[in-house]
Symmetry: C2
Subunit: 460 residues, 2 copies
């Protein structure tokens, strides 16, 4: 990048918020996707306002410089990693909570607000933003919109996209697109909000978001249920949801995951081939208890080996925090795990779990399966260490096999992590030639010069 | 249209399913938008399969013939009315329910399936598709997707777009775009499903839809609450929702609407300046009763003049049917009413209701206000008779004033009816130059020849 351009970009954000220092550039050349396929950026810029973002993007538009938006850096698919140098636009300084309306049940935030900080802030209003990625302590609302993130509570409360009623995006030519914000529902023209939601920063820079909120549940009860096999647990989940019993969370965990939680997170979990972690939200204990009773009846029919209940907040938080930190915990054991993120139809969950085990065996990869089984979103972690010859390649092969299996069962290769760099070779397998053609036409229409987060989602 | 093209189009669907008869063409030149701005089509075609739709669209693409998709014809905004002749594509014969999965809580239907027929069919499975347009007896699922339709239960259960997990669309060049179907959530590439949802047939012909379903509620209770003014009723709604009490329906009705329901629908309603009609869904009576009690406390603080409760299914259905038929009933009294469809922030509902009354007075138009106040979607009906000089013009002026007011309060001009022909002059006022530019770029990218339902949503 020309010295002159570097100086002009630096002038926009100030010298303290621009860096071409190689140490910084290395840090900004990776995210939580362990397998490096990206490149170093030429410069990292940390704007503090929409106007600064517009100034930077206008420069990029003029000089055809790639722009990669980023904030928490918790992407699991290389979505915020540069591939052709250029600018990494770090939005972490844009972390203001602009307005909460208790009357309208809404909040407006800048893109860099961290999920957990937002929900801590909203507690005083008795409100919360329900989608809860496991990375909630570090991920930002802007990143959640870029990937349509969700998490354990999606089964009851839905995904990020379900909550967005307003969005401001800096377009690839620097113009500001201001969408909605006051109406809880709309039939007014093309649904641009949901086009930018899930677009992984390839159509513009998400700078401001207005979200619908929910009232905090008045009563929360957690439960753990032991099973003799992951398939029994999977069948229980599918049958529970089909019976119209929708817990706030219903997470499946296999033997390997349970062992790690026992040993690394020091959680006093009993021995079991599989477990379900459940959370029930209600107005009071009787409402939560009713749902639990219905769950218990189905679980018993699937040979459940026992259910333990927790209502103590400290105890519950310890259990859920250990679940959320599973990915990080495994990273300590094996530094380059690959996370799968498939979604299959509910009725196919037991089959998917069985096939995942078979695929792991066939590829000689150690694997752990857990995830948001209630909406069919089964995560597996393929445990690998890049430094051990062959291990990463075998994990990648298993990853591909699992994704193919999801498509064969009628599902998707990604429920909440996005495609990023990681899965872009498979986009055409899921969406077909026609689907990818339409996506590319949209990309071309909105970003004709191709400067916004290039090489993500589909192959160019 | 050339005789040769007419013959070729007719050959695709068979002579029984094609018409150039002037009586048919007149019928297909209007929908439920009373003010005619459209044109006669050249031909009406009633295909019976996706392949037939593709054949027709390929011909249209080749000869640059406008294609206007249509099914129930219940659009309130001229969305399925031709403006430049061409083909009206009537999808009513494509009315098959393809597959219900009780295990996966999903149904796949052709676009021409009527909403009420679908829900009658789903009852045997204990399932339902919640969005409930007042036109449910005639509107089709394809049309609901085209407009992102909703209705009285949207406040609790959301809108059509929230339920679509799969969609098949015949593109303007005749190719079939097949999106999703098996995954309950997705982060896989651009959200094309939500781009085609709400696109009013301007990007392609929606031919098949896969919907998520819900388990039928086990207990239903209705209530009517009397108020001394529409503002008191509006304030009660806003406060109820803000308190986290979400009824399955919370409908506001003013004096004029109540009078019509009393006199025309023979409903024994007491005198009141305004009423709220409510429906509570629960697992049992106690759950519904708890929500009602919370509502009652707020209503009493807003000087509620009495609440009556109904749990008898026949009595409840009579009341809700009368509410659903309000538009049709008014049409008997004044043949050319104009329906407004604004959404405002919840906290602005009382102000919106007050302003609507003022606008009606100022423009000398008789008006009735009712609607889905729980999500801020306030409908007014501007009562007019095209045959009385000036009346329709005054109603249109009032309509514009109400839409401007909605934008000033931070809302939208349409919550569930769509823009169609009716409001396309105002799209730029709501979405700005940048918003309309992006919409037009998307239209151009997917329908470069501009044959799909031209002149809708925005001005060309």
């Amino acid at each position: 990048m020309d010295r002159e351009i570097i100086d002009q970009l630096t002038a926009i954000v100030g010298a303290d918020n621009a860096s071409t220092n190689p140490v910084d550039l290395v840090c900004y050349s990776v995210d939580c996707y362990a397998i490096k396929k990206g490149s170093m950026p030429d410069i990292v810029l940390r704007p503090n306002s929409v106007a600064e973002v517009q100034g930077i993007v206008r420069m990029a538009d003029k000089h055809l410089i790639p722009v990669v938006p980023r904030a928490g850096g918790s992407c699991l698919t290389g979505g915020c990693v540069p591939t052709r140098g250029g600018i990494v636009l770090d939005l972490q300084r844009m972390n203001r909570i602009i307005e909460v309306s208790k009357e309208n049940l809404t909040v407006t935030v800048e893109a860099g607000v961290v999920f957990a900080q937002l929900n801590t802030y909203l507690q005083r209003y008795g409100l919360f933003f329900p989608p809860d990625p496991a990375s909630g302590e570090i991920c930002t609302i802007g990143g959640m919109v870029a990937a349509n993130a969700s998490g354990m509570r999606a089964v009851k409360y839905g995904v990020t996209g379900d909550y967005i009623i307003g969005l401001k995006v800096v377009l690839p030519d620097g113009r500001l697109l201001d969408m909605g914000g006051g109406a809880r529902k709309s039939a007014s023209g093309y649904d641009l909000i949901h086009l930018f939601n899930r677009s992984e920063g390839t159509l513009g820079v998400i700078v401001e978001i207005t979200l619908k909120l929910r009232s905090l549940p008045r009563f929360i009860m957690s439960a753990v249920a032991k099973f003799h096999s992951p398939e029994d647990a999977g069948r229980t989940v599918a049958r529970t949801i089909a019976a119209g019993v929708i817990p706030a969370a219903i997470e499946i965990l296999d033997e390997v995951a349970l062992q790690v939680m026992r040993e690394e997170a020091h959680l006093p979990l009993p021995e079991a081939a599989a477990m379900l972690f459940l959370e029930f939200h209600g107005d009071d204990r009787s409402e939560a208890q009713k749902a639990l009773n219905k769950f218990r009846k189905i679980a018993d029919e699937e040979k459940c080996a026992g259910i333990e209940i927790a209502t103590d907040p400290v105890e519950m938080e310890r259990m859920w925090a250990a679940r959320r930190r599973l990915f990080a915990t495994f990273t300590r054991l094996k530094p380059s795990p690959i996370a799968t993120d498939i979604v299959v139809p509910l009725s196919k969950i037991p089959e998917a779990i069985r096939e995942i085990q078979e695929i792991a065996r066939k590829n000689d990869v150690k694997i752990t399966t857990y995830g948001h089984a209630g909406d069919g979103n089964v995560h597996s972690l393929l445990l690998a260490d890049l430094r051990i010859p062959g291990e990463s390649d075998r994990a990648h092969k298993a990853h591909d096999d699992i994704n193919w299996m999801a498509l064969r069962l009628g599902g998707t290769i990604t429920g909440e992590h996005g495609i990023g760099l990681e899965k872009r070779e498979m986009t055409k397998d899921e969406h077909g030639e026609v689907g990818v053609d339409i996506m590319k036409r949209i990309k071309k229409a909105i970003d004709p010069k191709g400067i916004m987060n290039p090489d993500k989602i589909f192959e160019v």
